[in-house]
């Protein structure tokens, strides 16, 4: 069964369609990547799945863990955001209360879900280990951890509360390559070992190709290509997908190095 299911999603501001997604399913143990550049509607699509699009007209049907997001009550939505889905953003530190140790933060969140005492500590440490962090981190304040660690902690927090879905919005683009690699390793592990459904939004095709099972390519609010990741990367059908693939920088010694660059035309004016 799909943990995330989107049907006929259309997000409009006035008459302008900023994102449309006819069909998107993410099953347990699967990673689906929505790929595109700024303005493609990929982030809007992701935010729609948590009912986080404001000031726009959202139509269609979206379910996360069986809950209909568009008709859910505010309380139900909060519950989904809090404990069913882990939202991983570019700058997770901003979302963490700076005056609380990470452990306190985690304990309070668990207490709200009725988990207390030794149980809570055990769950917290287990979740932190699952994202490849040392439980020692629970004693630190948000400003004492790096961006990559904060990101992984945000995932751990949702894990401890029983999240089955990870929604990641450009999770690595603000990070160094070595730290990026850690975040990707964590996402892979959660998908493979815990059967989490991962919806990843990114403009980094190389990164996406190393984790996604399926890929949806978006441009200007519309889907231009979709399919199994290996298929799309090996035989892209849409010219835009080909352009995206060609734009990925190669290391020396990789094939395609000499022809890696896109045509030197200026991008279209907006």
């Amino acid at each position: 069964m799909s943990l995330i299911s989107v049907r006929d999603l259309v997000v409009r501001i006035g008459d302008r369609v900023i994102a449309s997604m006819p069909e998107l399913d993410v099953a347990a143990g699967e990673c689906v990547a929505v790929v595109g550049e700024s303005g493609s509607g990929k982030t809007t699509t992701l935010l729609s799945t948590l009912g986080l699009v404001h000031g726009a007209d959202v139509s269609g049907r979206i379910t996360v863990g069986g809950v209909d997001v568009l008709t859910a009550s505010p309380a139900r939505l909060r519950e989904i955001r809090g404990s069913r889905a882990a939202l991983v953003m570019q700058s997770p530190q901003a979302a963490l209360n700076p005056t609380m140790r990470l452990g306190t933060l985690m304990r309070r969140a668990l207490a709200r879900h009725g988990v207390k005492g030794a149980d809570a500590r055990e769950r917290a440490e287990e979740a932190v280990r699952a994202v490849l962090l040392d439980p020692e981190i629970l004693r630190r304040y948000p400003h004492q951890v790096s961006g990559g660690q904060a990101q992984r902690f945000a995932i751990a927090l949702a894990l401890a509360l029983g999240a089955q879905v990870v929604l990641a919005d450009e999770p690595t683009s603000a990070l160094d390559v070595t730290v990026q690699a850690e975040v990707v390793a964590v996402l892979r592990r959660l998908r493979d070992e815990r059967g989490l459904a991962v919806l990843l939004v990114s403009h980094d095709l190389a990164l996406v190709s190393t984790i996604a099972d399926r890929v949806v390519v978006m441009r200007d609010g519309a889907v231009v290509e979709t399919g199994p990741a290996a298929e799309v990367f090996a035989r892209p059908r849409d010219p835009y997908t080909r352009e995206l693939i060609a734009a990925v920088p190669r290391l020396p010694g990789e094939d395609g190095h000499e022809t890696a660059s896109a045509a030197a035309a200026p991008e279209e004016e907006r």
Binding site: S38, A181, E182, A234, A260
Partner: protein, 343 residues
């Protein structure tokens, strides 16, 4: 004036840079001449601080930044003006690098008129020509930064740098704030302009794919020190420093194996011995006791006691990593895996 062959256009010689009491760059030497030189490192490695010193925006605590054969700190007024015309920066984010209150035309005009008087008509023509050079419609001259796309802003910043007809560009992460397809176009543009005008450039980035494409030689910085420098292709295909190797292995590749987590990226640099020690899988007693000095190993300079061992295990493009292992160690069994097929 010094002939271009006598010395590199711009060079740092054993430069140490500090903010207050904290040194962030230690004894770094680097020369930029015609052609591209890469400077690779993570955030906090000191690469941007070094760029500021090379641009004359910051004075070294010790060591010398040379423009030609002259010490930058000792230049007279005329020398300084000449240096300013010769060396221009392009920063990461065009929206930061352009005054939000100025139109593109005004920003470029400022560059044109700083060193020369120009008639109003002359300025206008020159602005239009420069915008055309960077692949923009001259009508964009009337726009302010917030009215342009990220790629357009970066092109305007490049046009402004070119306005003074420099000999060398310092490019500090010039594309990392842009969409991938735009990145590729900006890199093409820079490559083309450098070839056309015979420009030298220092390209500062954390993206190994970018230096691989644009720079013949590169230096890798870690914790304020250059840990390895040499021909870029050599560095990336056969790294001799474990950090270069960790960087290379962490780069995700299209259709390749998952990038390899290098482990302990959060560990701080060691205060004594080798700074890379806390993150190094090869750490030995000697590394704890003695900081490695840069030495020549197979055509490059490496600051690692065990560089030969790193090299020996190196010729692997895409090691098959255990996806679930928490922190795969850097030197592995050395089994060779061919590049994954593409397209």
């Amino acid at each position: 004036m010094t002939g271009p062959d006598a010395a590199a256009v711009l060079a740092a010689e054993e430069v140490t840079l500090a903010y207050g009491a904290t040194a962030v760059v230690h004894d770094v030497s680097l020369a930029v001449d015609r052609g591209g030189v890469g400077l690779i490192g993570e955030s906090g490695s000191g690469k941007t601080t070094l760029a500021r010193a090379l641009l004359g925006l910051m004075r070294p605590r010790s060591g010398v930044v040379r423009y030609g054969s002259r010490d930058l700190a000792a230049l007279d007024r005329a020398g300084r003006a000449e240096f300013r015309r010769a060396v221009q920066p392009v920063f990461q984010d065009g929206s930061e690098a352009l005054d939000p209150r100025m139109t593109a035309g005004a920003s470029i005009t400022e560059a044109l008129t700083t060193h020369h008087r120009m008639s109003r008509a002359g300025r206008k023509d020159r602005v239009a020509a420069l915008l055309a050079d960077v692949g923009l419609d001259p009508a964009l001259a009337a726009r302010r930064p917030h009215e342009m796309s990220g790629g357009q802003r970066q092109r305007v910043a490049i046009a402004r740098a070119l306005a003074v007809e420099p000999r060398l560009l310092v490019l500090d992460e010039p594309t990392s704030a842009l969409d991938v397809t735009v990145q590729a176009k900006i890199l093409d543009l820079l490559e083309g302009l450098a070839a056309e005008h015979g420009l030298g450039y220092l390209l500062i980035t954390h993206n190994l794919g970018v230096v691989g494409r644009l720079c013949r030689t590169s230096s890798v910085m870690f914790a304020g020190r250059v840990v390895e420098s040499g021909p870029t292709a050599e560095l990336l295909t056969r790294p001799a420093h474990p950090y270069t190797r960790a960087l290379r292995d962490a780069v995700p590749r299209l259709g390749g194996e998952p990038p390899r987590a290098a482990g302990r990226t959060e560990a701080a640099a060691a205060a004594s011995g080798c700074p890379f020690l806390p993150r190094c899988p090869l750490a030995a007693d000697r590394c704890r006791e003695e900081a490695p000095r840069p030495r020549d190993v197979e055509g490059r300079k490496v600051a690692c006691h065990r560089a030969e061992e790193v090299l020996d295990r190196a010729p692997v493009a895409h090691p098959r990593a255990d996806a679930s292992s928490p922190a795969p160690r850097v030197p592995h069994d050395g089994s060779e895996t061919p590049d994954a097929p593409r397209q």
